[in-house]
Amino acid sequence: MDVYLLLIAQGLAIGLLTGILYVLIALGLTLIYGILHIVNFAHGEIYMLGAMGVFYGYVVLKLPIWATLVAILVLALLLGLVVERAFFRSLRGQWLQLVVASVGISLIIQSLAWVAFGIQEKNVPSFFTGVVAFGGVRLPTERLVAAAVGVVLVVLLYLLVYRTKVGLAMRAIEEDEETARMLGIDADRVAALACALGFALAALAGAFVAPIYSLNPGMGLEVILMSFLIIIVGGLGSITGTVLAGLLIGVLQSVGGVLLGAEAAYGLVFVVMIVVLIVRPAGLLGKA
């Protein structure tokens, strides 16, 4: 019995640590949704590129890890700017076309990735080794560090959105784009910034999981699925809701996986989403 409890506690802890990484990805989606009113399907691919970036920078080119991360960050920001400028801007306001375009971008990145990176799974050696024990719960240092950096990034994003002028502009556009434009807010630039930031968060999340999982070009799909469930459960456009839902779903998936098996845990998370949609259609913290 004791072993059982310990297993659940272990699942809970791992779930929270995974949840924070989900939050990073889902927050990018939330940010882009708030401004452009689309869910960006290409997000999972950016996460995959982040992870692959670590493999090619840190393992193949043998760059120091900080240089690899900086390079990934810069490239992701640039990619966000380019995608917004090339595709999203000219389709502003056309909901259907925008979402479909993001699917197209996702397909392009993924098929190019299969060609460029091959089907061979890639592994990245740990940045940090060792295990930290809390009572009987043992957590790899690596996951703890990734989660800690994740928390810092989430806090930074909070500060950006709620304590800066740019953040104010973002919230204004989300509230009422027309009025915001009339008040002199350059909505296109804010949208570009939101895309760049969202892409950067996803790429960094990918970079943090690189040593934890085996990498392949299809790895974005599972993560994008979880992120979609998170933003629905949290309430579309709500940052706090996204954070809560991310942690909740990370825990559900991890504990559910321990108790029921990985595939059934998917089903469990999906059932939770349906229940939330029935009971609180706008999500945990969304506006109706």
Binding site: H37, I38, A101, I105, V115, F228, L236, M273, L277
Partner: protein, 322 residues
Amino acid sequence: MKRGLLGLVIAALALLPSFGEPYVLHVAIVVLIHVVYAQALYVIMRMGYLSFGHAGYIALGGYTSALLATKLGVSPWIGFLAGGAVASLFAWALGTVTLKLRGIYFSLSVFAFAEVVNAVFRAFEAFGGPAGIAAVPRPVLFGTRLQTHAQFYYVVLAVALVALFFLYRLQWTRFGFTLLALRTRETEALAESIGINAARHKTLAFVVSCCFCGLMGAVHVPYLRFVSPFVFTFFLSTDLMVYVMVGGLGSYWGPMLGTVLLTGLGEQLFAAGYYKSLVYAVVLLVVILALPGGLISLPRIFRRGATRERVVPADATAARER
């Protein structure tokens, strides 16, 4: 003129097995199956809703017919109907919950649903597990099992013609026109103000769409003679969406044109593996950005171009954010 052309095409399709190679028939079968999938998806895209999970409903139909035939020995003919029924049932359940909400909730939920369906089929040995179900029998007609391409081709052709005729006629019914009115938020509010229950109409449209996907999925699986969780994936859902968008949302013939061109092309690109996805995606983005009405709007653009009139893509479906 149009009617004559249609008759000619149907006659040509009916005569195809008498002069077509097996490979040609195979391509024809694949194209017909996908035309029905795309045309079914068009029912909901026409009302401004996107689905990233129609493959889930196709899989439900396919697995239903495969399981009934292999585990219970039920005739595949009944399996076809059961496939459509099971897909409809699940579509009704999800539609009731999500179609009251903004379109994006629906799109994401359907995507999640399809992934979960796949995970469940993968997880349980009763559903065949990761290996899937092998040796799915073909149906028997007048004592012969329809083993050859030519025999099975007629089954697919018959189901496809019935489905396509039904979906075509559906557009010109009161129900079909109502769906068109639900395309944007404003017109939806207008429709509700005169007493139309929008959520119920949308749910029914989704059920019709998934019913034909399930039915065709139930036909598709006996053609392949097997099914596994890797047959009907997310990429099928996106392919279908690409067909509809590339062909054009403005007319019933748009999705069909897109499907015929792209699946025909896809068969040629099959050996190229991942390049197929790449080609599809590039075509998709080019069409979305440069030709908002899809390929079907080309003739009209040429006609307008002759009179130097500016083309307003009326059927670019300005389905605004919902």
